[in-house]
Symmetry: C2
Subunit: 229 residues, 2 copies
């Protein structure tokens, strides 16, 4: 291989922090390494960037190869270039993150036979490389983001209750929110449309259903806002 830039160069990887939400928990998708270094340890899905693919393409390819997950909307998080983060040689990684609905994204048998699984974010084992730090950074970004962008459109069913959207925020922020206060604030954002329908097939008293005002949601996502919770 002949390069026009004739100096030693770092290897380049991508790593993906995929958060999944189910009814109870914020979870993160991990793979178990089957090669050294950190053989047998859990790690973020990821791998080396090929010359003919963009960073985004590399992230999607690695995620699909290692976990079977496809059609995930990944956002770039941060590039990490600590000099000795990989014991083999200098490796710079571009980290990505995503928030997906867990029930839509069951992990399939990974094509390269690595073990892949969801872990509750509160209960993650010590990860390979500096992946603990990358996971922490992604979690902070997600927590920060709910304060200035609406979330939930891709995560909630088309019609949902205020209890469900409060739960979504509670899981991401990892704390209980005051019901009355939360409802006042979420409604004042003007992105929810109250429907003339209530829940069906529930044991508790059926609650009012809402849906997102797609146009306002989109505008707020672009403009940003401040949700003080």
């Amino acid at each position: 291989m002949k390069y026009s830039y004739e100096y030693p160069r770092a290897a380049l990887t991508v790593d993906c922090v995929v958060f999944g939400l189910d009814e109870d928990d914020l979870q993160v998708l991990l793979i178990q390494r089957d090669l050294p270094p950190f053989e047998g340890d859990w790690a973020l899905p990821g791998g080396f960037v090929r010359l003919e693919e963009t960073l985004d393409e590399a992230a999607l390819r690695e995620l699909s190869e290692e976990t079977g997950l496809k059609n995930v909307y990944l956002e770039q998080l941060y590039s990490v270039g600590t000099v000795n983060r990989d014991p083999r040689e200098r490796v710079v990684t571009v980290a990505y993150y995503a928030l997906v609905n867990l029930t839509d994204h069951r992990v399939q048998a990974a094509t390269d036979a690595r073990n892949a699984a969801w872990f509750a974010v509160d209960d993650v084992p010590s990860l390979a490389f500096d992946h603990d730090q990358i996971l922490k950074m992604a979690h902070e970004r997600l927590r920060g983001k709910v304060r200035y962008q609406p979330i939930g459109f891709e995560l909630l069913p088309p019609k949902f209750t205020l209890r469900q959207i409060q739960h979504l925020y509670e899981v991401i922020l990892d704390r209980q929110l005051d019901k009355r206060n939360f409802r006042k604030k979420i409604l004042s954002m003007g992105i929810l449309v109250e429907l003339d329908e209530v829940e069906t097939d529930v044991a508790h008293r059926a609650a009012r259903l809402y849906q997102f005002d797609r146009r306002k949601y989109k505008r707020l996502t672009k403009q940003g806002f401040h949700f003080e919770i």
Copy 2:
């Protein structure tokens, strides 16, 4: 050079978008290329990352070497991995950005004899590589940021007038703001302390001076807020 990852690899660069503010304009620091490709064209300061330095260190070193600028607080913006963005070979770049006080950061003769100069953001020539796009991305990030983080601490003198801080926001947002409305909003953020002093040596009526409440400013920077302007 023997690598443990035995495949062709991209070269890795850093590029810096340094915005400068003076009394009138938002400016950006550019260098003129003295080698192909794009010889003679203006470009963002930047260059190849060395094996023994972090990405942040590479950005600071390149900025210093090419423009003489030191002690700048650079924030990582985005990594760009479009496959053919450099005609020589595959080059992935990690873009950084900063906002500095122009009067504190006069450009010195660059040590490697390249031409370096400040350009008004509205009046930038067509740049080398995809640097136009990176500049645009940085400008958007800066505009977005003033909506959820306070700015100005490093840019305004220790004591300043409301006219000065409004001007700062106007320059970044590139539009006139309503004086009455702006003042109400900036004061309601609670980060300004009204002083018992007025401007001196001014031709117009001397205006009240303010300073930042450093503790509240810091807290807001961390927490974020929403400044609807």
